[in-house]
């Protein structure tokens, strides 16, 4: 996994609460057996109408948001299905950071497995970022994971919270299966103890 340290990126807003994983990547695209290539289907039904025409009002279709790498949205982002295709699509499209007041648990967890940084801010801070993004074409945010600070060119500086283990995980781009396997002896001992106690499988 690619480490995440710093990002200086264009912000694209998706101004909705409860953005669910069916919206992020509709089910007809879950049939692929690869991890790659999902970006073209991100927010598919919001980007294209039923005839395949571009929906110009949707922000990701606007020229000013092309090349965005920071996604700004509302509460309970990523709710619904556990499909990791959702973060795969977000990452493949080009986003590395998502900012919202809250995230659904499984989606939040899936982000870290893919080198995406989800940042939780207060409703007021998110409101403010929406205003700033809407007001200025080309609005960018600098995401400094080392120091856990978000900043912009206009002097905004917001510290954000993140579990230290998760921070290290992203900074170093760790392989967590490898980390668990370091405890191979403990896992084997646990299995032996349970088998001896007759705990059913």
């Amino acid at each position: 996994m690619e480490p995440f340290v710093q990002l200086n990126g264009l912000v694209a807003p998706v101004d909705r609460v409860n953005v669910d994983t069916d919206a992020i990547i509709p089910k007809q695209f879950l049939k692929r057996i690869e991890r790659s290539g999902f970006g073209q289907y991100l927010f598919f039904e919001w980007r294209w109408d039923e005839q395949g025409n571009v929906i110009p009002d949707f922000n990701l279709n606007k020229p000013r948001y092309q090349g965005a790498s920071v996604l700004l949205s509302r509460a309970n982002f990523g709710c619904g299905s556990s499909r990791e295709h959702a973060p795969w699509a977000i990452l493949d499209y080009g986003f590395r950071c998502i900012i919202a007041p809250s995230f659904a648990d499984i989606f939040y967890n899936n982000c870290f497995k893919n080198g995406i940084l989800p940042i939780k801010l207060s409703e007021e801070q998110v409101d403010d970022l929406f205003e700033r993004t809407n007001a200025k074409e080309g609005y960018t945010l600098k995401v400094d994971l080392e120091n856990k600070v978000l900043s912009d060119d206009a002097g905004l500086s917001i510290p954000f919270e993140l579990d230290e283990h998760r921070r290290q995980f992203l900074l170093q781009g760790l392989d967590d299966i490898g980390l668990t396997l370091k405890h191979e002896a403990a896992i084997t001992a646990y299995e032996a103890k349970r088998a001896a106690a007759g705990v059913s499988a």
Binding site: N18, D20, P26, S81, P87, A104, I106, E164
Partner: protein
């Protein structure tokens, strides 16, 4: 020893390594696998030269892509590839697969409990958010992403941070016509779709104790729609009676010994939860959703809400956008909403009791000429049982289509898909935009409410239903 909740007991029984400042390493007792979220995980094992650590604790089936008519003929080549890939992966890695040739094949969360794989006190995961269903047995069961599927395949463990605990006390008694589905939909309509985020919910109270095992599964199934990864119900006689004699349940004396262990899992008297919610069941009425989030629901005697009357700007915007998508006018009585389609099935409501309940409403009636109605058993075993009881005849005589087991229209990864603009009364769990097909409009209801809507062609209060006890031969 300090007093513990059931969640804490199960958690502590499974923590292998707990280091300060790091997630714990939690042992997983049962891993259920399906075709959609596993191919990349098996590929990951292959690329890193790893094996499945405990194939004996890993069970697979195909459900999402499976057609419910002419099931062996998967016409979509990408669907077929995904199903075939699961077969190949299970063969290569030695995982037990219940495929389309077995009667156990079905929706993975219907199949597991039926086989007796789901036991109190187990940790259970699956690459599917409705894994919360298994919490009905007092198992700690939650959905995971594909990276974690690979993690569990490789290590039989997960790195997990301990969740907070919440108790939902369902107080009082259900009135006639009120189902487990109404309990969970009512809860979510009141508290929203994210009040459970970060929590494991335990459902207690006399209304929970009174539920059958299958009804408990309906409640726990939709914990995720409240934001909670897992829901728990303490095991009791209902649980033990359900499990006794099932294929993977302990047998004979071992079963009795297991029951003693399972009883000890219950939350200690006086143990504290991080959050407490009391929910009154006495006054609950049949629920119908009107919007595009499971929390956008109301009672059948109410009307579509007026967005301007909602408390916050975000709620007003969300409701207005949902009503536009749903093509509903504020203030419309729920009983005035006409429908085109009915789907009875899914991991929420595709079990034998759900089909019995729907059949009792449908018996002797006819599906409205404006409605297409399908009944999809949750598994091959549910289908056989229903046919033994003659439920298939009740449905087909009433004009419902009787299908084979699968996820079907719950998420439309198979040929069962709504057309744009079609409105569906669905017993499934999600009413998201496009969930049942692009432009499709989903209203979540109980099996009884769905069957009644099929007959009337619009939503109807099932409490006023005319039940016909016999069909003329």
């Amino acid at each position: 020893m300090s007093k513990q909740t059931m969640f804490e007991k199960i958690w502590n029984n499974h923590v292998i390594v707990a280091e300060e400042g790091k997630p714990s390493i939690l042992y997983i007792d049962l891993h259920l696998v399906h075709e959609v979220t596993s191919p990349q995980a098996f590929e990951g094992l292959r690329l890193s030269g790893r094996k499945v650590r405990r194939p004996d604790l890993t069970f697979a089936t195909m459900d999402h892509n499976v057609p419910t008519k002419d099931r062996f003929n998967i016409s979509d080549p990408i669907s077929k590839q995904q199903v075939d890939t699961l077969t190949t992966n299970c063969q290569e890695f030695g995982v037990k697969l219940y495929d389309l040739n077995t009667i156990d094949q079905g929706v993975v969360h219907v199949m597991g409990p039926e086989l007796g794989l789901t036991h109190p006190g187990k940790t259970i995961v699956c690459g599917d958010s409705h894994t919360s269903t298994h919490g009905a047995f007092g198992a700690l069961a939650f959905g995971i992403g594909t990276s974690e599927v690979e993690h569990v395949l490789a290590t039989q463990c997960l790195q997990q941070s301990k969740a907070k605990t919440m108790v939902i006390r369902f107080n009082g008694k259900r009135q006639p016509g009120i189902t487990a589905k109404d309990m969970i939909l009512g809860l979510i309509a009141k508290y929203g779709t994210d009040f459970g985020t970060g929590y494991v919910m335990e459902y207690t109270g006399e209304a929970i104790r009174a539920l059958t095992m299958e009804e408990r599964m309906t409640v726990c199934n939709m914990s995720i729609e409240a934001g909670a990864r897992a829901g728990l119900i303490a095991p009791d006689l209902t649980t033990f009676d359900y499990l006794r004699g099932r294929e993977y349940a302990p047998q004979g004396a071992a079963f009795d010994a297991a029951v003693e262990q399972w009883k000890a899992l219950c939350t200690d008297e006086g143990a504290e939860y991080d959050s407490v919610i009391d929910f009154d069941v006495d006054s609950l009425i049949p629920q119908v959703t009107w919007g595009t989030s499971p929390g956008m629901g109301t009672g059948i005697t109410s009307s579509v809400p007026v967005p301007e009357n909602l408390p916050t700007e975000n709620e007003r915007k969300a409701a207005a956008s949902a009503l536009e998508y749903m093509d509903l006018k504020p203030g419309t009585p729920m009983t005035d909403i006409t429908i085109d389609y009915v789907f009875i099935g899914s991991c929420t409501n595709g079990r034998i009791e759900d089909l019995r309940a729907a059949a009792s409403v449908a018996r002797g009636h006819k599906v409205s000429p404006n409605v297409t109605a399908i009944v999809v058993p949750g598994s091959g075993r549910v289908k056989i049982q229903a046919e033994k009881e003659g439920l298939d005849k009740v449905f087909t005589e009433a004009g419902f289509e009787w299908r084979d087991a699968g996820c079907s229209m719950c998420l439309a990864m198979n040929p069962d898909v709504l057309k744009p603009g079609q409105r569906c009364a669905s017993t499934s769990n999600r009413n998201f935009e496009g969930r049942q097909g692009r432009g499709g409009r989903t209203h979540l209801v109980s099996p009884e409410m769905a069957a009644a809507a099929a007959v009337q062609g619009r939503f109807v209060d099932v409490r006023t239903w005319e039940f016909k006890s016999e069909v003329k031969a």
